[in-house]
């Protein structure tokens, strides 16, 4: 019988640093993240932290929290949170409420692209152009009032600009296309055979919406709500142009602008901006928590 040849005991594998990093999920491709990270750090993280630091160093002294104390002790200033919420929440809800039925209808239409294009045009106009158009159209001498007056439906022009309604309408016009596009993409993601299956099981249109469409859409609607809300909450130009910036539409962005660029108190302006961010985070967190109670996952009906 042959003797079994001796083999020297293998040296324990010493993986190179590269191999170990790869196993942890870092490889050369990860480096492609660098520009984006740099971008975020320079243009977002740093300004946010700088703003936060600035807000803790009040211009007129009085301790770190002086700006925040000042903000929450003046009802004219902290009231802007309520004003902005009163504007942003209904605007977002109305936009969502309009988007869902229209998206459900458009999904089945043949000239979907044409209609979608028409609905999306307002988003390309920009706030200032929209405001300009609104001032002409909805103003006391605008077409809208003239037509209603010549039809003897009203005797005095209705006031639709330079007040809350003006900003509200402008936010609907500007925000709807955005909401609609998002909702349409979520709606088309729902397999139409699911609705057919529900119909075959005896569900009428309203029941199909309640039991099938809505639960499958919930997560998407929550995300749309958050994005649209954040956009509406930071309203600034339309609140000035078609609103009443010293009264009913004195939104929080105006308060921040006023502090920073009219009173030259950058520290206070930063504090207001930070507060604004927190309010947005609270609302978004709340909505995301509610949506986590619903089904999240693919809205398909199975294989195939």
């Amino acid at each position: 019988m042959d003797t079994i040849p001796l083999i020297a005991p293998a040296t324990p594998d010493r993986d190179s640093l590269k191999r170990r990093l790869e196993r942890a999920g870092f490889d050369a491709i990860t480096l492609l993240l660098l520009p984006a990270v740099l971008f975020v750090v320079v243009l977002f993280v740093y300004p946010a932290l700088y703003g936060f630091w600035l807000s803790l160093h009040p211009m007129n002294g009085g301790g770190w929290l002086a700006n925040y104390i000042a903000f929450f002790s003046d009802p004219y200033v902290y009231g802007t949170i309520i004003t902005t919420l009163e504007l942003a929440v209904p605007v977002t809800l109305v936009n969502l409420a309009l988007s869902v039925p229209i998206a459900l209808r458009v999904r089945h239409m043949r000239h979907q692209r044409l209609l979608t294009t028409l609905l999306v045009i307002p988003v390309t106009l920009g706030t200032v152009l929209t405001a300009q158009g609104m001032l002409n159209y909805f103003g006391p001498l605008g077409w809208f009032n003239r037509v209603l007056m010549s039809l003897h439906l009203i005797h005095m022009p209705v006031r639709l600009v330079h007040n809350f309604t003006g900003v509200f309408l402008s936010q609907i016009i500007g925000g709807f296309p955005f909401c609609f596009m998002l909702v349409l993409s979520y709606v088309t993601g729902i397999d139409p055979s699911l609705e057919n299956a529900a119909a075959m099981l005896g569900a009428r249109a309203a029941q199909r919406f309640r039991h099938i469409i809505l639960p499958l859409l919930a997560a998407g609607l929550a995300i749309t709500f958050c994005l649209a809300f954040v956009q509406a909450f930071s309203v600034f130009p339309s609140a000035v142009l078609v609103g009443a910036p010293s009264g009913p539409t004195r939104v929080i962005a105006i308060a921040a602008f006023h502090a920073a660029y009219e009173e030259y108190d950058y520290s206070m302006g930063s504090a207001i901006a930070i507060i604004m961010g927190f309010v947005q985070i609270i609302v978004v967190a709340l909505v995301m928590w509610i949506s986590s109670l619903f089904y999240r996952g693919p809205a398909g009906g199975g294989k195939g």
């Binding site: 055979s193 699911l194 057919n196 299956a197 529900a198 119909a199 075959m200 996952g297 199975g302 195939g304």
Partner: protein, 355 residues
């Protein structure tokens, strides 16, 4: 409490028609389906079989004709008012509901008492052998299980008619055979009528009481599996039923339906299926009936052959360039010269293009 189909005598389709923008997707479909019958709609893709099913379901409106359930006209009713069950090709299970809720959905829509819903769902789960998985979501079970849930969901509302749209096409071969038996077992147990759309002739032959062959939106033949297998009424039906050799031939003599034909240089005997054929005919025969024989009339060279367990199936080509599919019990090699022949009663003769 047991699940059993609602009572009815028959479902009648009367000259059912469906157009899509000027194109006839479905023409003149007239058919009576009795309670408890299993009907297969068989045809190649694009033949209108899914359209027919969707028209029956109410998911597509008819362009003409009518549908009757006993003495009630139902073609103007919405899907939710017809009360039929449907199993979709992709199952269409509600992804956000547990299997239990999926199956109970139809009963819930009928506003049945919760106790009754629970009992029936439990029974349906047992019927498709999924009681243990009842609280999972559809995404957490396998394709075969999803398919069974889809069936349970369709039958638990005790529909008079269950529509199935190629329900097995997404399953692997073994599971397909198992589910085939399962579908027939459930059909027999609840006593509904089933209309089953498929492009797979094996499935149709093994499941159905009657098969409806569709082509270009028209019914080409209706019959029992035996009838369709042995005597397809038209050459195109024959082709679809596994008569792989569809050969142009010239009729020479005929006696009591028995024909002698000239096929290139060879002579072939067969039986006429369609009366009134002309000189140009089409001979149809299955590969399994065309075998090598010393006195076979057709000389051909083997092009390729594949082993299929019991025997070999191959392709041979005659001198005139005619391709023939044949079966052989002995191994054959490409290039080998063979004489092929078929028993006359297995050769079906149809009218040719010029007739």
């Amino acid at each position: 409490m047991t699940i059993s189909a609602k009572n009815f005598r028959e479902l009648r389709l009367d000259h059912m028609r469906r157009d899509f923008g000027g194109m006839n997707a479905l023409r003149d479909i007239t058919l009576t389906i009795k309670r408890g019958e299993f009907i297969a709609l068989l045809g190649p893709s694009g033949c209108g079989k899914s359209t027919a099913l969707n028209c029956l379901a109410g998911l597509l409106p008819l362009s003409g004709g009518s549908i009757w359930l006993d003495d009630t006209r139902i073609d103007h009713l919405k899907p939710e008012e017809r009360g039929f069950g449907m199993v979709f090709q992709n199952y269409a299970l509600f992804p956000h509901m547990s299997l239990r809720k999926n199956i109970g959905f139809g009963l819930k829509m009928q506003k049945r008492p919760q106790a009754e819903i629970d009992a029936k769902v439990e029974e349906a789960l047992a019927l498709v052998r999924l009681s243990k998985q009842a609280d999972k979501l559809p995404g957490q079970i396998s394709g075969g299980q999803q398919q069974r849930v889809a069936i349970a969901r369709a039958i638990v509302v005790e529909p008079p008619l269950v529509l199935m749209d190629e329900p097995l096409s997404n399953l692997d071969a073994k599971l397909r055979l198992e589910m085939r038996a399962e579908i027939r077992r459930i059909h027999n147990m609840i006593g509904c009528s089933t209309i089953y759309v498929t492009h797979d002739q094996d499935e149709a032959l093994s499941l159905a009481d009657r098969i409806v062959v569709l082509r270009d939106g028209q019914m080409r033949q209706v019959g029992t599996p035996q009838e369709l297998y042995a005597r397809p009424a038209h050459a195109d039906v024959a082709e679809f039923m596994g008569y792989r050799n569809i050969l142009k031939a010239e009729a020479e003599t005929e006696q009591n339906g028995r024909l002698t034909m000239r096929l290139g240089g060879a002579k072939l005997e067969g039986f006429a299926v369609e009366p009134g054929h002309g000189r140009e005919v089409i001979a149809a025969l299955r590969p399994e009936d065309l075998t090598p024989a010393n006195d076979g009339p057709i000389a051909a060279a083997v092009v390729s052959a594949e082993y299929r367990g019991r025997d070999f199936y191959g392709l041979a080509r005659t001198q005139e360039g005619l391709d023939l599919w044949f079966r052989s019990e002995l191994s054959v090699q490409p290039g080998e010269q063979l004489r092929l022949g078929a028993p006359a009663e297995r050769v079906l003769v149809y009218a040719g293009a010029a007739a």
